[in-house]
Amino acid sequence: MSSTSIPSKFDVAVVGAGPAGSATAYLLAKKGFKVLLVERGRGLGDKQLFGGRVYAQPLREVWPELDKEAPIQRWVTRERVSLVSGDKALTLEFKGGERKSFTALLPQLVAWMQRKAEQAGAIFATEATVDEIMFKDGKAVGIRSGNDVVYADVTVDAEGVNRLLLERAGIVPRLSPDHIALGVKEVLRTGSSQLEAAFGIGSDEGVAWVVVGDVTRGVPGGGFIYTNKDTVSIGVVIHLKHAINAIESGQLNNHVYELVEGFRLHPYFRNLWHGATISEYGGHLTIEGGLSFAPKRLVYPGLLVVGDAAGLLLSTGINYRGVDYAVYSGKLAAEAIEYAASHGGLTYDNLLEYERKVKDSFMYRDLVRHRAVEMLMNDPTMFSKLAEVFIGLFSQMFEQDYSVPTPYEAFTGALTEHNMSLNKLMSYMITAVRGL
């Protein structure tokens, strides 16, 4: 942050120009607030990594021009879910058609959001790592990066999952592996015609594909595949608590990159991107169990917390909603600041409007409803066990030499083969169905 070009007093300082911070800054600047948006990265969007699919409707509330203008890779028209066990796989496909979600490359999408914020009048400072949120008498009064200090009536923390600033301020405890997963991703360049032929889709179609089972060598987690225009995003996500346990027990003695490579080369999937080159590789943390990750409050005197930093991310094992939640929480924060300004000032009491808005929102309701997922995540073997039993069932039904089993025989055969009682299976199913 060069101190010469940037005034040192703002209405609002937003730390972190991801989806959450960019949306907050955009909406506030549009309403005439004096906004500073600060990002540690150099190029637009260059610290951004996610899986690959964004739900559109919450974003349209901020940018109605989204469908026309945003760097959308493909609209998702097909949802696939695969259970994998060894080389065997069971896949379910749903063909939709509505423009509900799209695939994207996050650096491009976020760069678009950042430019929107800048065009609306926000001052956008890149290459500026904020070192601390400054407090005076228990109230946040601004931010410091190196020797540069900027004061603001309200600071919005949009720093993402790795909350160094909130930790330094003593607001959240040190990040613990209990609520965190690591995602490792490869982008594979295939070319659009090969991609469309391999996935069996048209040029105006896209696939979002979730893989559960033993892509992660028995460590609970899963894999994802998203089709972009001419590349495919693939990756694995592993829960760090379970990964540590698996290393301790000797079950995991591979490097985590080998899990992605194993997935890329898995016999069931590898022909989808045959001959592709890897055009990028990376890793990023993400949240498991949003509400237990959330800070105690989302509003502190002079400070609002939005996006991942606020624990606002829903991950059910099948559905993943982080970008749209981040944008939507940014929208609610901007509205609350506007509300406060028009109700006598940016006081703590007025800013509490943000917390009320979050609690009234679809995000909070869903995070509460999906709490059972946390239970599910606590039983590390459940997903792979379910995958084994279902694949066992189909393998009994389809892999035959002479005798054809009745469905009942196939079912009980699969249960005994995998050492599973009907009771246990039912309780797994109930937890899974409740959770998902």
Partner: protein
């Protein structure tokens, strides 16, 4: 006429995983002169499982014999090592303003 065996007659070999260092060639960094992460190796000596060796996606932690060696240059700033280190051996920060990994497609 020479009796060369045609390559196409052979069964195509199982595809092999790439090496991590080759995969990382596809990434771009603006490398800082100073490390943003500092490891207290004396704690690593007593660390029983050394999870950083397996879980750092960029392979920044390697073993030389029994000794852990850390190099910051290829770090993708995910924060995993900070979270999983059981010995509190890591002083973790982001790279200085504007430095580090520069994603384009992910």
């Amino acid at each position: 006429m020479s009796a060369t065996v045609q390559a196409t007659n052979k069964q195509s070999p199982e595809p092999k995983p790439m090496k991590l260092e080759d995969i990382l060639q596809s990434d771009v960094w603006n490398v800082d002169e100073e490390p943003h992460i500092v490891v207290d190796y004396s704690k690593c000596e007593k660390c029983p499982t050394k999870p950083c060796i397996y879980l750092c996606p960029a392979g920044c932690y390697t073993l030389a014999g029994n000794r852990v060696v850390f190099s910051y240059e290829g770090c993708v700033e995910c924060g995993t090592c900070r979270v999983i280190c059981p010995m509190d051996a890591i002083t973790w920060n982001y790279p200085k303003s504007g430095h580090g990994i520069m994603y384009r497609f992910t």
